[in-house]
Symmetry: C2
C-alpha cells in the first residue's frame, strides 16, 4: 500500500489531496477495457454516481469520459443545443466566460447574465431574461472556482421550470459535486457536469456528468447530428448503458486505472451519509471564514449565503500580492492558488478545502493552513488594522 | 514500490502490460497543475516526445491532452480541416470508418479509399485519387488495430508531397507509435496522433500528437474558428508552448498522475536506442508469426510487408470461434482480444505484442502466449491439417 512521501498540502480549489487508497488504485495492474472485471468496476462506478448525485430516476444517465472537466461543456454544447439555438449563461466568474465561449464554438448563441464580482445574478433578473427570449438551456456555475461564489440551485431550478419550462437546467458542478448538496431529482436538474479531481477526490482525467431523462429526450429529438465526435452522446450513451448492465462494449478506450481510483473514492464517500459529508464541509468552511474575518481580511464572495463551502477566495491586504504570500505559505508546507478572475487576479488568493483535508480526522491540513496564512501575512509586513 | 499481484498477461492490442515503475508513477502524490514541479515534468514529457517521434524541427509541436486516442481524430478534424473541405481516408480496417465518421461530424467530406480485408490501398490508386480532387488532408492508419495491417508511411508521404504537395499527411499511430519506426521529419509527416496505452506503455487516458510546423501554419490560416472547444489548438497551443518553456499555464486541468506515468514510460523507452526497440518488436513479431504459420493458421494481414510488428490478427480454424478459444487462453493466464472488423469479427482473434512483454527479458509473456494458443486450440478440437 502506498504511503505518500512528505509533500506540501495541496489546498488549491482542485486538484486536492488524495487518500492513500485512491492513489493505490491508480496503480492497478493492466486490465482489458472490454474484460468482465473492468466492466463490472465501471458498472459499480455508474451506480455509485447515481447515489452521489441523489437520483433514483432510472431515466437519468451517468456518463464518465476520459478528459478534463472542460469536456463536460463540450458535451452540453454539442449534444443538447443545436447550432443557432440560444443559451443563457449565468455569470459568477471566469468559468461562465469560458462556458459561453464553448457554446459559441458550437454555433450556439450564448447570452451572459453577469453579476458584479462576488455576487450572483438575482432571481428577478433571471426571470426577466427568461421571459425575453426562448433559451434551450440555462447554465449556472454552482461554485465558480475563480471567485468562490456559490449559486443557489433549488430556487433557480424552480424558477426556470415555472417561467420557461422547456429550458434545460445545466449545472457546472466542477467545484461543488462532493462538497455541496445537490439533489438531482428533487431539484429538477437536467445536467450536472463535474470532474474527478475536486471534491470527488480522484486524480484529474475524468469528465463526469449526470443527465436527466428529459435532457436525453431533448438530445434524441435533435434535428442535426451532435457536433462533437469524441464527446457525442450518440456514441457514448449505448456504451454507458452497456457498462451499467455489465456488458462489455467499445467506442473509445477508457482509463481503467482512473476508473479504479474513482471507484475507490466514491466507495469512501458513500460509506458515510452524504448529509454528514456536506455538514463537515460546511463546518470547516465556517471555521476558515471565521479565521479570515478575525485576520481582518475580506472574501470575494460578498455574503454568507453566496459563499462556497469547499473553497474560499480571500482578498489580500492592500499592497500585498500573491507572489509575496504564496512562497511564504509554501515554506510552511501549504499550497494555495493565486487569483484567476482576470480583473482582480493580483489582489487575492484561493484556499481549497475539500475532500480528505476536511473529512479525515487524522489530517491537520486545515489548521496548518490557517496558521500558515496568519504567520505568512505577518512575514510579508501585514499588520491587522 | 508496487509489485503487481499475479494476474493474466494482457496481450491485447492495447492497453498492454505496464512496468512496475510506470504504475508507481500513477500513484504520485497530488501536485498543483500550475506548480513548477509539475510544469517541469510536463516540459520534459514534451521534449521526450520529440525524440520518440524523431523530430528536431523546432516548428513541430507535441500536444498531450486528457482523453482517449479518439480525441486525436477530433483534433485533426476540428483544427486542420474547415467545414466543406475534403479528406482522403485510406482504409485498412475499422478505424478508417470511424475516422471518416469523425470528419463528417465536423462538416468535412471524407472519401474512403478501401482495400480488401488484409490489404492496403496501393500507391497507384492513391495517386489517382489525389489527382482527381483537392484534399486538405490524407489520413492513413499506420497499424489498424482491427486487422493488424501495417501501412507504409515513407513512400506514401513522398507520393503525397509529389502529387498533391498542399495535402497534409496525417497518420493515425495509435497502434504503432513506440513499436513501429516513425521518422516524423525525414518522412515529411504533418500529424501523428496516438494514445498512451499501447506501445508507449502508459495507462490509458492521454491523447498524444505531434504536429508539424507546416500543419500549424495551415491551422493558423483558417478562415473559420476551430470547431471543437476542448480539442481546440487555439486553446491548447499556447499552453503546450508554455509548458515546454516551463511556464505555468492554464486552459483545462491536465492529469498530473498520468503525465508522471508517461514521463516514466518515455524515460524507459529513450534509455535505449529507438532502433533497438523497433528491432526487438520486429524479432518478437517474426517469432510469433512463424509459430502461427507452423500451427497451420493464417493472418488477416496478407503478406510480410503489410504485417504489423506490435500485433497479429489470426484467423481461427474453420468452426472455432473466439468465445470458445478466449476462455481457454484465459485459464492459461493469457488475455487475447476477439475480432473487431465487423464483417469477420467471429472468425479471428488478436494478439498484442508491444512494450514490456517484448522488451523486458524477465518476462515470459510471449512464450506463454504462444504455448497457450497451441494448447488452447487443441483443447477446443483443433487438429492441424
Amino acid at each position: 500500500m502506498s504511503k505518500q512521501p512528505p509533500h506540501p498540502a495541496l489546498l488549491i480549489p482542485g486538484p486536492i489531496e488524495f487518500d492513500d487508497a485512491v492513489l493505490d488504485a491508480m496503480s492497478h495492474y493492466s486490465e482489458s477495457h472490454v474484460g468482465q472485471p473492468f466492466v463490472n468496476t465501471f458498472s459499480e462506478v455508474l451506480a455509485m454516481l447515481r447515489k452521489l448525485f441523489q437520483t433514483t430516476d432510472p431515466a437519468s444517465q451517468p456518463i464518465v469520459l476520459s478528459g478534463s472537466g472542460t469536456l463536460g461543456w463540450d458535451q452540453v454544447a454539442a449534444n443538447l443545443v443545436e447550432p443557432g439555438e440560444e443559451a443563457l449563461v449565468l455569470h459568477t466568474g471566469y468559468f461562465a466566460d469560458s462556458f459561453a465561449d464553448c457554446f459559441e464554438t458550437y454555433g450556439v448563441k450564448a447570452t451572459q447574465l453577469k453579476a458584479p464580482i462576488g455576487e450572483r445574478p438575482q432571481l428577478d433578473e433571471i426571470e426577466e431574461a427568461l421571459k425575453e427570449k426562448k433559451y434551450k438551456v440555462l447554465t449556472v456555475t454552482h461554485v465558480d472556482t475563480s471567485t468562490g461564489v456559490l449559486s443557489e440551485l433549488k430556487a433557480l431550478s424552480e424558477l426556470v421550470h415555472k417561467v420557461s419550462p422547456e429550458t434545460l437546467v445545466v449545472v457546472d458542478g466542477v467545484c461543488s459535486v462532493g462538497c455541496e448538496e445537490i439533489r438531482f431529482d428533487d431539484w429538477g436538474l437536467d445536467v450536472v457536469l463535474t470532474a474527478s479531481q475536486k471534491a470527488i477526490g480522484c486524480p484529474a482525467g475524468l469528465s463526469i456528468l449526470m443527465v436527466s431523462g428529459r435532457a436525453i429526450e431533448v438530445f434524441k429529438a435533435r434535428k442535426t447530428r451532435p457536433t462533437s465526435y469524441f464527446g457525442s452522446w450518440k456514441n457514448w450513451l449505448p456504451i454507458m448503458q452497456n457498462y451499467e448492465a455489465k456488458k462489455p462494449s467499445y467506442f473509445a478506450t477508457p482509463s481503467p486505472q482512473l476508473i479504479h481510483a474513482l471507484h475507490t473514492s466514491l466507495s469512501q464517500i458513500l460509506s458515510r451519509p452524504l448529509e454528514q459529508r456536506f455538514a463537515d464541509h460546511r463546518a470547516t468552511s465556517q471555521k476558515i471564514k471565521k479565521a479570515i474575518t478575525e485576520l481582518g481580511l475580506k472574501q470575494l464572495a460578498s455574503k454568507p449565503e453566496n459563499q462556497a463551502n469547499g473553497m474560499t477566495a480571500i482578498y489580500l491586504p492592500e499592497g500585498i500580492t500573491p507572489p509575496q504570500v504564496l512562497p511564504s505559505l509554501m515554506k510552511k508546507g501549504v499550497i494555495f492558488a493565486g487569483g484567476l478572475h482576470k480583473e482582480i487576479a493580483t489582489k487575492y488568493v484561493r484556499f481549497g478545502h475539500m475532500g480528505v483535508s476536511v473529512t479525515d480526522p487524522r489530517r491537520s491540513d486545515i489548521d496548518t493552513a490557517i496558521e500558515a496564512l496568519k504567520e505568512g501575512l505577518i512575514e510579508v509586513g501585514y499588520k491587522k488594522a
